[in-house]
């Protein structure tokens, strides 16, 4: 299309006549091309329509529930839609807490792995490492969930107990109904907690954050790297002064992309937590909840109105992940490192 337009359209510098009227450009190609473009536009339209349908449908169905609940939707912790007494205060808090735990664990892991792969790893094994990290993103969430329930849960309880014993004075790490000095205390109060779910979700989001970070680190300009080395910097000095400042957009953006995925994660969380419908800020204590786990838990027994209420919860979750993802991609795109990605 562009090529056929550009062909003879440019006036040469040799033409002496002063008045050069703008020419009409004909770009209508062969009929086959018009069919092709029509088909392409059509497929774009189908996708657009499908996606808008999802959004509009969610919003319209959610509206029915929101019109009943109004602002109490954000402040109620209970979920009893049939008596019109429901809200997402508990599940939203739980979702955010799980996401925060996940990101706090995933950030150093992803950063360390990305730096190692892009800066330290020998060239021979670099591709293998990248493949492994990509593979980690493709491991089904049910597999992570199995690992979390059957292995991690039994082994992390000791750590939970230790943290609550020594840092219990911080409200977040407090565990109700437990005497830290009782050696025979049962450990079930530490299972199925936000903390354990957060660890498992961290493993699922680390590869996403890691690959975004690695790609921005790899784009750090070679000239600046060599300049740092030429000034006598050690490798860490070079990373600190060139790679990290250059890749800061990638670090923030990758972390937020990971957060977006962490907020929407369902099955692994659902398998691990034991759901409670109260705002539960104690990370280490048994009982947690998240919006997606709520939907998976209640969709089957929901009435017509109950489904609308679940849609409203889903819409709230979608809005949250959407905002997080848009901020993330705009940070990645605006940072200096995003400048070179447009081919």
């Amino acid at each position: 299309m562009t090529a056929s337009v550009l062909g003879p359209g440019h006036p040469g510098g040799t033409a002496p006549e002063p008045a050069d009227a703008p020419r009409v450009l004909h770009s209508a190609g062969a009929p086959s091309d018009r069919v092709f473009r029509g088909l392409a536009r059509g497929s774009g339209g189908v996708v657009l329509g499908l996606m808008l349908l999802v959004g509009v449908f969610l919003a319209s169905r959610a509206w029915r529930a929101l019109a009943v609940a109004r602002w109490s939707f954000l402040t109620t912790a209970k979920w009893e839609p049939d008596s019109h007494h429901f809200g997402i205060a508990a599940v939203l808090t739980g979702t955010v807490l799980i996401g925060m735990v996940a990101i706090l664990i995933a950030l150093p892991l992803a950063l360390g792995t990305a730096l190692y792969i892009s800066e330290y790893a020998p060239r021979r094994i670099k591709r293998g490492l990248v493949s492994l990290v990509d593979l980690m993103a493709a491991v089904p969430s049910v597999v992570y969930g199995l690992w979390g329930v059957f292995f991690l849960q039994g082994h992390v309880v000791g750590l939970s107990r230790w943290i609550s014993q020594y840092f219990g004075w911080i409200p977040l790490f407090n565990v109700d109904g437990v005497d830290p000095h009782d050696p025979l205390a049962t450990s079930t109060v530490y299972t199925s907690s936000t903390f354990i779910a957060g660890i498992v979700v961290a493993l699922m989001v680390t590869p996403i954050a890691c690959s975004v970070m690695r790609e921005t680190f790899a784009q750090a300009p070679g000239g600046e790297r060599e300049g740092a080395f030429a000034l006598g910097a050690t490798k860490w000095g070079m990373i600190r002064t060139v790679v990290l400042p250059f890749g800061v957009g990638g670090i923030i953006g990758g972390t937020m992309l990971g957060l977006g995925r962490a907020l929407g994660e369902t099955i692994a969380v659902y398998m691990i937590i034991s759901p409670v419908f109260a705002v539960q800020p104690h990370l280490l204590q048994n009982g947690a909840n998240s919006v997606s786990a709520l939907i998976a838990l209640r969709y089957g027994s929901a009435s017509h109105f109950g489904t609308s209420a679940l849609m409203a919860a889903g819409l709230a979750l979608f809005t949250m992940t959407l905002v997080v993802n848009f901020i993330a991609s705009s940070i990645v795109a605006r940072s200096r490192s995003g400048a070179g990605t447009e081919a």
Partner: protein, 466 residues
């Protein structure tokens, strides 16, 4: 290094021969002959009291970044840290947690390593080494956990996978208490295959067409579509399932079925595949397109014969990785497929189980054998994902411009033959014998896949050869 030595030799014109390369800047080696140690050797790097080294040709320096001393200090620090922790845990303090042992040992390792390095190096280098160890251990930790998660599933699953009936029977007549020699997950395998086929039948044509549209018909409309698609990648998979549940099952009144599950998977996979393919097609060099237009090709023919073949490897990877994501997704299937323990070959009617869903339901049982079956299904799923992943890497793991090993070998062989032919000077006579040998080098497939610079170079070399 050679530059340093070269300059050094320029500074000492009175020296002759290879022995004159002793460099004051290099810090070791000492020019012994007093006659040559003239004015030139009062360079600042040369301490006057340095011990005299024996004469002889200078040894070649190693340029390796790692030395035996580094390895020794790492190993020494590790041994010291473990021993200290043992002492601490066994004799001094009443600690017993294995996790605590590892953490304390690691912290001690960092400390001891820093001390060991500080014997040889200045503080800046010490910081450099310690930080390097820190990043490497974080990366190692992540990879160890990954390998552990995968092998744990496979290991717990092998008890069920050992029995062949696991692949040939369903669970319709098998209770939770019955031994593993009865029952299997063939119903879930059939369900997974059919659902992912439905999802691929929807997403591959639509996704690829949309990705082509985003790149070939640019404009405001395409930008809008791209933005919406990007927004939809944020759609949580459970919400996709909820949408299909509310529309197909509640409003249209169909049963929970494999078709509904396939549609939910499509809705989830579509934005992923569109985005990945969009990125791949965007990387097709514009010069290739323009060359095609300049030859008079129409737009759809350019797309068909230039753009898509060039991006083929990347597009395949995008589709396979999207499949791997979709095949392991549980939450949309949970809402739409229903659960059954018997084989249901028809995706149009009745509930149909898939592997992740079967895993999810089976491990919820308190019975040991049922949990083992759940792990077996998870291991099967994991093996499927691994297989897809390996296939994706084989097909499209190479970046643009990279050649596979076989292609590299063929190129090297071809150029060796060319050298032999040119140096023997009997080119025209042997022309007929050369032709079959040159073919691999001229094949069109690796050239477009090779990206812009390499592709063009490869092709022009093939074209201009006599």
């Amino acid at each position: 290094m050679t530059d340093l030595l070269g300059q050094d030799m320029d500074n000492h014109p009175d020296k002759a021969g290879p022995a004159g390369g002793h460099g004051p800047t290099a810090g070791h080696g000492h020019p012994a002959p007093a006659a040559t140690a003239g004015a030139g050797h009062t360079a600042p790097g040369q301490p006057s009291g340095a011990p005299a080294a024996p004469d002889g040709p200078e040894e070649r320096r190693g340029t390796a970044t790692w030395h035996a001393r580094d390895l020794l200090s790492v190993a020494g620090a590790a041994v010291a840290a473990v021993a200290l922790t043992f002492l601490l845990f066994g004799w001094i303090a009443p600690f017993d947690a294995p996790l605590g042992f590892v953490v304390v040992a690691y912290l001690l390792f960092l400390g001891v390593y820093a001390v060991l390095v500080s014997f040889d190096e200045n503080p800046v280098a010490v910081r450099d080494r310690v930080v390097a160890v820190l990043w490497q251990s974080l990366a190692t930790l992540l990879l160890v956990v990954l390998v552990f998660v995968i092998s744990y599933t496979l290991w717990r699953g092998h008890r069920a996978l050992d029995h062949l009936n696991f692949f040939t029977q369903d669970l319709s007549t098998t209770g939770p208490l019955q031994p593993l020699t009865q029952g299997g997950v063939v119903h879930a395998m059939i369900g997974t295959l059919e659902q992912i086929t439905i999802a691929l039948a929807v997403t591959v044509p639509l996704g690829l067409a949309c990705a082509v549209f985003l790149n070939e018909v640019p404009g405001g409309y395409a930008r809008l579509v791209r933005t919406v698609v990007e927004a939809m990648t944020a759609l949580p998979s459970i919400v996709a399932g909820l949408f299909i549940y509310a529309t197909v099952i509640l409003i249209l009144g169909y049963d929970k079925s494999g078709l509904a599950a396939g549609l939910a998977l499509s809705l989830m996979m579509l934005p992923i595949i569109i985005r990945a393919s969009d990125v791949v097609i965007r990387l097709v060099p514009g010069s290739l397109r323009e060359a095609s237009y300049a030859l008079g090709a129409s737009q759809w023919r350019t797309v068909l014969t230039v753009v898509l073949p060039t991006a083929r490897s990347g597009l395949t990877t995008a589709v396979i990785l999207g499949t791997a994501r979709g095949i392991g997704e549980t939450s949309p299937v949970l809402l739409t497929a229903g659960y059954t323990a018997s084989v249901n070959k028809s995706p149009l009617s009745g509930p149909q189980t898939s592997l992740p869903l079967a895993t999810f339901f089976m491990v919820a049982s308190p019975q040991k054998n049922m949990i083992a079956r759940g792990f077996g299904a998870a291991a099967l799923l994991m093996a499927l994902v691994l297989l897809l992943f390996v296939v994706a890497r084989i097909i499209g793991g190479r970046g643009p411009g990279e050649l596979s090993r076989a292609q590299q070998r063929r190129r090297a062989q071809a150029s060796r033959r060319d050298v032999a032919r040119m140096s023997s000077g009997t080119g025209p006579l042997r022309e007929p014998r050369q032709r079959p040998g040159r073919r691999p080098d001229r094949r069109p497939v690796p050239v477009p896949a090779g990206g812009d610079p390499h592709g063009r170079r490869g092709r022009s070399r093939g074209g201009t050869r006599p």
